[in-house]
């Protein structure tokens, strides 16, 4: 019988609560669900092995988010240019007109997101998908709050052009 330590229980609880959200974050950054799941599983592993360094339990999620962003950045760096942003797998059946419209909408958004510079994409996803404050984004990415504001402004302006097409 294996003793279930507090650290293991805490990591597993965090996994149950945040896995889906973290894969969503990595998926939007990488444009690929499979890679996103790999990155997030590795992020939880890294988190678990270094959680003794976290002195403030309230910062655990923020720390995990930073790991996910860092590992996703590393994954993007390693990808060759042609494989950089693979589409998220779609339905394999022939689409109905409604489904086709929805797919076109998702593809347009995904392409818009993929076209953003890395930092803009990270700021946009953290702000508009995770609803983080500019201060929290700055902490997650390790950059100045002023830089976050600037990245968000530019990223949103670029994406709005694409979103207008879908109105």
């Amino acid at each position: 019988m294996v003793t279930r330590t507090a650290a293991v229980a805490a990591t597993e609880a965090l996994f149950r609560a945040r896995y889906s959200e973290m894969v969503g974050l990595a998926g939007l950054l990488l444009g690929d669900r499979g890679s996103a799941e790999e990155v997030v599983q590795d992020a939880f592993a890294k988190f678990h092995l270094s959680r003794h360094r976290i002195t403030d339990p309230d910062r655990e999620v923020s720390y995990l988010r930073s790991i996910v962003c860092n590992l996703a950045r590393g994954r993007l760096r390693r990808r060759s240019v042609e494989r950089r942003l693979r589409p998220i797998p779609r339905l394999e059946v022939a689409p109905t007109p409604d489904v086709a419209t929805e797919r076109h909408r998702q593809d347009t958004v995904a392409a818009g997101l993929a076209s953003l510079p890395r930092r803009q994409r990270e700021c946009v996803v953290l702000r508009y998908w995770l609803d983080l404050s500019e201060r929290d984004i700055a902490e997650t990415l390790g950059i100045a709050a002023g830089s976050v504001k600037s990245h968000l402004h530019r990223g949103l302006a670029a994406l709005e052009v694409r979103l207008e097409e879908l109105r």
């Binding site: 293991v8 597993e12 896995y19 998926g27 669900r33 799941e37 592993a45 678990h48 508009y128």
Partner: protein, 265 residues
Amino acid sequence: MTGGEDRLRRALDDLAPRPAADEAALGGVERAVARRRRRTAVARVAAAVALVGVAAGGAALARAAGGDVDRPADVATPAQKGGGEGGGLSTLRTTVPGPERARIGNATFVVPEGWAATPLGSGDALCVAPVGNPEPRWEDCGGLAIYHGDLPGRGGRPYERDQPWSFAHGTDAPPCPFAAPGVAPAADVVEPGQTGRAYIDGGPRPVGDRTANFNQWFARCSVSHRTFTPRAWLLPKSRILILDVLGQPGAEAMLASFEFSGAGG
């Protein structure tokens, strides 16, 4: 909040994948924990061996540290011991300890069961061969020779891809690796076959998730007429050269197990 921001929120919400935090995903985390622990354990062993080598001033030990060695059998990772910091997610389930991995340069690879990775020569190199390094051997290695850093080529020159006989590092005709009955080893030497010294196959080949420059040559022993087709995989960015001179059956599986950290290829 602007309409544009609203639309963006909805669009991202639609786009983001949301897989369940199920047992399969948790299994992926456990495997990732084990992988990270293995890497740490191998690095620690290498660092410890390097320290001993420096302290003792022993050249052989220093070479071992430089080339990195396989984890000794009595060095278990915290996960295998079921202890260590946090206990490890893998302690929650019944898991099979992963295979032994050795490290060279920025790469690790699986050492096949019943084989061992041992330091080779005076540089940063490993011989990965069946335990005991049995005959036949090529340049003291009865398996795959893996070099890192300064990569040896024909006649003591640096390794060059697509060149004649880059697998033979001496300046003289090398002795035949296969013992011929009644023939003095010095008399049976390796000579180029009818196809000459040029390589017989080449091009890009996978090593782990990287692409290597591959070459294969034809060689024949002068007296016994035994033939063999040495193979080499060159990863120029990682500065790793893998030589399989005698044609080990498990070479492909080992090459497929290579994992690299950082940029390279």
